[in-house]
């Protein structure tokens, strides 16, 4: 059971190409999946689901989405919050317009609509790069939030200007609305995350992923070997927005239940997801998960330690959290730009040789 590839011979290109080439990794991955599906649903309670698990699952989807665009294709986006809002509102419109449509399809359609909107806002990326593209996506963020605030059709002319998710069921078990149970919402989001992470892995390991990475690393050389830059960037925007839109739809329908757009999908959410992928690791699916877990767990941990342990003021703890996150981002950018995922890789490389020095 050593962590080794020695003796584990690959005899086909398929075997050589698999996601977890080392047997130990593979078993660990299956074990994590088994625990997530077979153990956690039976022991999860409302606190854990609402404070830790649901936010983690949903933000992880958003982080994977942004990582496709920023980490793999190199296009910086500050419009994540706005695109999540598109997913949420599209999902809401589908839920209310077609009450019989299964919620899973509403969420997927929300993602599809977001993909289209993402392509639209991705069009300028052919001409503008780097900071300037970030500003263009920032415009998307503010425009979309403004749009959902101002056009009453989007929130079905409700008096409060909010949207709230009606009850919808999957196999007779409610997953949205007021009567949900922790295990059902958890499993619903978990299925989405697992399937989407698998899709993202497939996209990034093959031709499409290499196209994106070639644009990221050197767009001139990419073009000379036959990459159509506009097509590559737009597919990245589409795929990324699809993931982000699904995250937005789940965030609204399953997690929050009722949403006021400026509050739930403001610019700070865009930054939150960006921090996740910077700390987690750009260009890595695992990094997206690690970053999401980190950013979700940190406030919970700090609150428990500072408020619960030391008896400090809640506001002080909340401010301290901002300071710590800021310091961590600076620290990561300087010391390890590839984030937690790179640290994890380094640990694994060390582990492969352990206990021998070379």
């Amino acid at each position: 059971m050593f962590y080794r590839e020695a003796g584990d011979f690959k005899t086909s290109y398929v075997a050589d190409n698999q996601t977890f080439p080392i047997a130990f990794d593979r078993y660990r991955y299956y074990a994590v999946l088994a625990v997530a599906f077979l153990v956690v649903p039976f022991i999860v309670n409302d606190y854990w689901a609402n404070a830790v698990l649901l936010p983690f699952l949903i933000w992880a989807i958003a982080a994977i989405g942004l990582n496709i665009l920023t980490g793999y294709c190199g296009q910086v986006s500050l419009g994540t919050g706005g695109f999540m809002a598109v997913g949420a509102y599209a999902c809401y419109k589908f839920m209310t317009a077609f009450p019989d449509l299964n919620i899973a399809f509403c969420v997927l359609l929300g993602g599809a609509v977001t993909a289209l909107v993402g392509v639209l806002f991705g069009l300028p990326s052919l001409r503008i790069k780097g900071f300037y593209l970030a500003v263009a996506t920032l415009a998307a963020q503010f425009f979309l939030v403004w749009l959902f605030n101002r056009v009453p059709w989007f929130y079905n002319y409700s008096a409060s200007g909010q949207i709230s998710a009606p009850e919808r069921t999957v196999f007779g078990v409610p997953v949205t609305g007021p009567n949900t149970s922790a295990w059902a919402t958890y499993l619903f989001c978990l299925v989405f995350l697992v399937v989407l992470a698998w899709l993202a892995r497939n996209l990034t390991r093959g031709t499409v992923g290499r196209t994106w990475m070639s644009i990221r690393d050197m767009d001139i050389a990419a073009e000379i070997i036959g990459v159509n830059p506009l097509r590559a960037k737009l597919t990245a925007f589409a795929a990324s927005s699809f993931f982000v839109g699904i995250a937005g739809a789940l965030f609204f329908s399953v997690y929050l239940g009722a949403v006021e757009v400026g509050e739930a999908f403001g610019i700070n959410k865009s930054f939150l997801v960006l921090f996740m992928i910077i700390i987690g690791g750009l260009g890595s699916i695992f990094g997206s998960l690690a970053g999401a877990a980190f950013m979700v767990l940190l406030p919970v941990l700090l609150k428990n330690v500072l408020v619960g342990g030391f008896g400090w003021d809640t506001a002080l703890a909340a401010h301290l959290e901002l300071v710590i996150v800021g310091a961590l981002i600076i620290g990561f950018l300087i010391a390890e730009p590839h984030g937690l995922a790179r640290l994890w890789e380094l640990a694994k490389e060390k582990l492969r040789l352990w206990p021998f020095p070379h």
């Binding site: 290109y13 031709t207 290499r210 990475m213 690393d217 000379i224 070997i225 036959g226 830059p229 597919t235």
Partner: protein
């Protein structure tokens, strides 16, 4: 070898040189007021190794950039297989079967050697976004089929040991070789090499020369290269174009070019008496 027949023939070392594959006809390229290339015509024949030489700033790289579609010349035409080529983007040129390497290496630093070379096979990949996302089936089959081709090229260029190494960690000479591998992976009809031996030591140069000759010999790839090392150029190439200040001052076999007065003047300077 001084004579170069019009119709296709077999060289003394057994390679077949065919008809004209690519023709530059009266190409003029201007950047504002600067004339980079002035009314240049030459052709590249199937299966030959064609060198473009000249002093610094002569417009050699600009010429290569015209062929690969980075620049569209203001005047003149590029003919490929006898057909006039409309103005094209570089990726469209790549799809016609023209691959190239760069003077200062342009590899994808964040990716492994294998991924870099696999990217070179892009023009042979057909599966769409959704098929890729599902992976099982068509996408995986295509990946394996192309991987087999790429492994042949990896064997050919003797870089098996660095297959999974991120390109950023490689030394200069190997990077050059990986870049050649990426260009070869496209199975190009014409391979453009922009100073393939710049900055190499003698041993690395010899390796590179051997690879260039082998590529030409085994795959029958037509090669156009820019190089400053005269020894290399004269040994490798079948025909040489000499440029100076954007103009063509010589064209012919190495022996003809070496004997040309204009070429000697351009390289050594003119005696004023």
């Amino acid at each position: 070898m001084t004579a170069f027949p019009e119709e296709s023939f077999v060289t003394p070392d057994g390679r077949t040189i065919g008809g004209v594959m690519m023709e530059m006809r009266n190409i003029t390229l201007r950047f504002g007021g600067v004339i980079a290339i002035k009314d240049i015509s030459f052709d590249i024949r199937e299966g030959e190794i064609r060198a473009i030489i000249g002093p610094n700033g002569a417009g050699k790289s600009s010429m290569l950039n015209v062929i690969s579609g980075f620049y569209n010349p203001q005047e003149g035409d590029v003919l490929f297989h006898g057909k006039k080529r409309p103005p094209m983007r570089p990726y469209q040129v790549a799809r016609q079967g023209i691959a190239r390497t760069f003077q200062n290496i342009a590899l994808f630093d964040g990716m492994s050697v294998l991924d870099n070379i696999m990217t070179g096979r892009l023009t042979h990949m057909k599966t769409g976004l959704l098929e890729q996302a599902i992976w099982w089936g068509k996408a995986e089959r295509e990946e394996v089929a192309n991987r087999r081709k790429v492994e042949e090229i990896i064997d050919f260029l003797e870089i098996e040991h660095i297959r999974k190494t991120p390109v950023g960690r490689l030394p200069y000479g190997l990077k050059k070789r990986v870049e050649l591998a990426r260009a070869l992976a496209a199975e190009p009809k014409i391979l453009l090499l922009d100073e393939p031996m710049a900055g190499m030591n003698v041993e690395e140069k010899e390796d590179m020369c051997r690879f260039i000759l082998d590529v030409n010999d085994e795959f029958g790839t037509t090669i156009a290269l820019i190089e400053h090392d005269m020894g290399v150029v004269m040994d490798l190439s079948d025909r040489v174009v000499v440029m100076d200040y954007g103009k063509k001052i010589g064209d012919g076999t190495p022996d003809e070019v070496r004997a040309s007065k204009e070429v000697i003047d351009a390289y050594l300077g003119v005696a004023h008496d």
